[in-house]
């Protein structure tokens, strides 16, 4: 089946915040909001949970560090111990700097990759421009028509909440 999406375009932060909150409270099905920049408080307005990416960061940072410590120990003290300047085989303090660097590297890169994965961003991906100018100066509130709130109702709601422009999209379920 196809989904019918209605999009209200707003001009200011205040309007979109209000609109988004109102829509949610009224029980409309808010698909998403498109905005040119990160609007503080909108996540609350939309009722989105905080991201779990910090866990990825932590997990891979730690594993990276652990791996590096082991690797340095293994190469220097176990695999081929070489007498370097009379230093002990296992010169743990000397391993700290690189361990730290590698931890940061792992954590940082992994988090970003994870972010791209979860948000489905990849080079050459076509942007689903549900709402025009949302990368410039417009805020787009996307609401799906449901049995309870049919298109006219939503349009009415948009008008009330000072949307400057309203448009519609039909969408195959597949998308």
């Amino acid at each position: 089946m196809t989904r019918r999406l209605l999009i209200g375009l707003y001009e200011t932060e205040d309007d979109i915040l209000a609109a988004a909150e109102a829509a949610r409270l009224r029980g409309m099905k808010v698909v998403d909001v498109y905005s040119p920049y990160f609007v503080h408080g909108l996540e609350r307005a939309m009722g989105l949970p905080p991201s779990k990416l910090p866990w990825v960061c932590f997990a891979l940072g730690v594993s990276g560090a652990a791996f590096k410590v082991w690797f340095e120990y293994w190469t220097t003290a176990s695999d081929w111990p070489v007498n370097v300047g009379g230093k002990p085989w296992n010169s743990l303090p000397a391993f700290v700097p690189i361990t730290f660097e590698v931890m940061v590297l792992f954590a940082g890169l992994s988090t970003v990759f994870a972010f791209f994965l979860v948000s489905r961003l990849w080079p050459g991906r076509r942007a689903v421009a549900l709402a025009p100018r949302t990368t410039d100066d417009r805020f787009g509130l996307v609401i799906e028509e449901t049995a309870y709130f049919d298109a006219p109702a939503v349009r009415r709601f948009f008008e009330e909440s000072r949307a400057v422009e309203i448009c519609e999209r039909m969408m195959e379920e597949a998308a």
Binding site: V82, N83, V84, G85, G86, K87, S91
Partner: protein, 1011 residues
Amino acid sequence: MRADEPKRYWKSLAEREGGAAYSERAAAEFDETPFAAGPLGSRRSFLQAAGFSFAGALLAGCRRAPVEKAAPWLEQPEEIIAGRSYYYTSTCGACPAGCGLLVKTRDGRPIKLEGNPDHPLSRGGLCAVGQASILGLYDSLRPKQPLLRGRAVSWQEADREVLKALAEARRSGGAVRYLSGTLTSPSRLRMIRQLLSGLPDGRHVTYDTLPAAAVLDAHERTHGVRALPHYRFDRANVVASFDADFLGTWLSPVEFTAGYSQLRKPLEQSPQMSYHVQFEARLSLTGSKADRRIRIAPEELPWYLAQLCARLEVKAQRSSGARLESLPILDDVAERLWQARGRSLVVCGAEHLDAQLLANYANELLGNYGTTLDLRRPSLQRQARPGDFAELLDEIATGRIAVLFLDGVNPVYDLPDGEQLARRLRKLPLVVSLAERLDESAEAAAVVCPDQHYLECWGDAEPVRGLFGVQQPLIPPLRGRAALESLAIWAGAPKSAADIVRETWEREIFPRCKAKEESFERFWERVLHEGWVEAEIEHPGSAFNPAPAQAALHRVTKTAAAGLTLVAYPKIALLDGRHAYNPWLQELPDPITKATWDNYACLAPATARKLGLTDGDVVRLEAGPERAVELPVLVQPGQHDNVVAVALGYGGHLTRRFANLGPRWLGWRPSVNAGGCVGENIAPLLERDGGSLRWTRSGVRLVPTGKRHALAVTQDHHTLTVPPRLAAADRGRRPIIEETTLEAFRKDPRAGAQGHPPPAEDLWPRDHTFPGHRWMMVVDLTACTGCSACVIACQVENNVPAVGKDEVRRKREMHWIRIDRYYSGPLGDVDVAFQPMMCQHCEHAPCETVCPVLATVHSSEGLNQQIYNRCIGTRYCENNCPYKVRRFNWFDYARDDRLANMVLNPDVTVRSRGVMEKCTFCVQRIQEARLEARRRGEPLRDGEVQTACQQSCPAQAIVFGDANDPASKVSQLLKSGRAYRVLEEINVRPSVTYLRLVRNRREAEEEERHG
């Protein structure tokens, strides 16, 4: 001779010729037949290739390596195995001193010269010049063929020319003169006699560029024999030397150094050392080691000797009524000498008859003849007769000569009026030069019949009456023809050098040897095996006649120096310039001035200040009419204020070859000066009276030119005291060199200790024990004379390149071992301390910790290893080395002279551009000794591993060995009270230990010197 290495020798000529098939090919290969050129690496493998000759260049580990051919012998020679080094005895031919050699040959080519430990004179030492002389063998610029008026001709043609002239002379009774330097070779002398005997008017004339004629004359007068006493420094407890640089350049430095230093190694159990006082004008190497050094103007020297004699006369109650003037220092010296009657020695290096007469007198009064001076077996190392030479020069001037032979002499260069002489030589009917290289005189000669290097032909020597050494060929001839053979041909009896030498020995020496062998063959075998033999001698009794000496004593008056006096001196390594072609010697820093690739006008600090001159200011030295030489100034502490000293041996044509030396790049500067030569020839400024050259000339003028000339010195800062402006209170002097006086040492063996050993406890676990060997080195600063033999020995052993003047000027010399020289005390008469500085192989090596790629790490035997092929050249190790002993390959140093590459040691990698290198404690020698010991199934014995520097050291100041072996010499010395380590306080734990410098002084004396 390595203990583990049975000595090899040619059993017989037959056998030597037996290897002929091989020799031929080797010879052929040495002519530049095109074989593997290729990049650096290839040369080593080429040498590696053990009697094979390789073809096909190969790049180390790149794609499919190009095909490499290996051609084995056709006839397997007995006794020679590819890849093994063999040691043959021989006698050094670099100067008339005739030191004993062990020549290390590998696959048919000599690659290293070492002193023969069993040789009675040199006792295992070998000087820098001797060490470097091997490069002369592989000098590709030596002429291959004879030259007839500059045109390369066949030997037959050249001989025809000479024989024609000789026949003519024989017919018309024309004069034939054979001019040579001192020759000690019985065979050579025999052949010369043979050549001249057949002629109506033939004479052999000898002249020396480093003369001792005055000594000979003086003895003729006082002892009735024209002989040069054999000085025995090994017996002299008190040495008073008047301008005799016997440790550096005088007569037989290696022998003298060995003997001298033998008495200067104070130990706790016997805190004794000889006393040495030096009277001299310039600061010589010998003076730098003296316990007491008195600066005197050259003119004053005879008078000082006279005063000494006068004092000795009084003590001996044989006063001839000479006037005594108050000279406390001489009183002291006289007293010391007198106390050591019969065990003392007065030597005089001045070419001044009166001075020499007085020296003889002093020795006579002290009863030193027979003990420290040996006239029974006199030295033959100098034989010049200035009278004859003067005559010869007149004859040349008047053209009354039919044929003139020049053998190993270069008068055109040596003499003040060289050009004039050259012109006259060209006018003579025939001048035949036997020079190895085309020097100035050879250029003036009509025929040049190049002689061979002493390593490629047979020869012998008699440095001291009755002591014979043999020279054997160790490689098929590369160039020229043995002079012996030339002489034989010209004498009309062609014979091989081998036969000639054997003949000499069979007829003249064998009978006198009272040898245990009955047959000559067996005797000859032993001689070749040992390299030398001592023969009985009949010696003329010689009674001392005091008259001439006393006459001199009364004749000599105190003469004040008028204005500046020019003093020409032979420089260590360069001597009279006969080896000026040798880049190693040119690049060897002068032990005192630390300058390379130049000669210069040394001025005393006071004088320099007076004239407003500093290092590098170019001045014009003017002496006599239109005689001037422009030289850079070098301010030399410890020199007499009225003296300007200039080194001989520079500015010769032999140095033209260095025009393109050194890595070529935008900033490259030539190693030669505007004249196309290295340095300036000082001869034009000297004067010749009769047949002898005066090395001093009073009343020279010195005119600043305003020009500058950057000297290539390897050391910029000359004291251990930091500039006062930068010295924090009372921390001026750095305890790098620790020294003390004998008196203090007697009281307390640890006297003079300054550094504090690092804490025994360690923050870290002791992960590194050295269970097997623990290689360590001990260097005795008291024994070290700074002669720099070790520097060249190391250079030959370890394939260290010569980089040229410009690179040295940029402080990029490559020597692995350097000799730091520090002055102390008043600028006037400074104290000098030498410190051989090489990689210290620290147990906590700072260089290792910082190398990111593990290119320098520690071995299980305490060696600090440098792995060239792993090095990427961060130079971090160099920066972090407190001793700055690491050397970086800033460029690919040219090794495109294929013949010269023959000298490379196949056991040591030739380093390429961009890698760090440094002293390895001669790890290749350690390996060799270890493997041989294993092969024999025996443990490695102490002394079986000798580093190159240790081996060559005439003073035996360097000891290397296994510190884990309590019996080893090294661990004995480590216990010495004199032992200390440089920069101990920073806890790098060096493996090189120095033995404190002890001067034979009273503490009070030291006090007033250093406040």
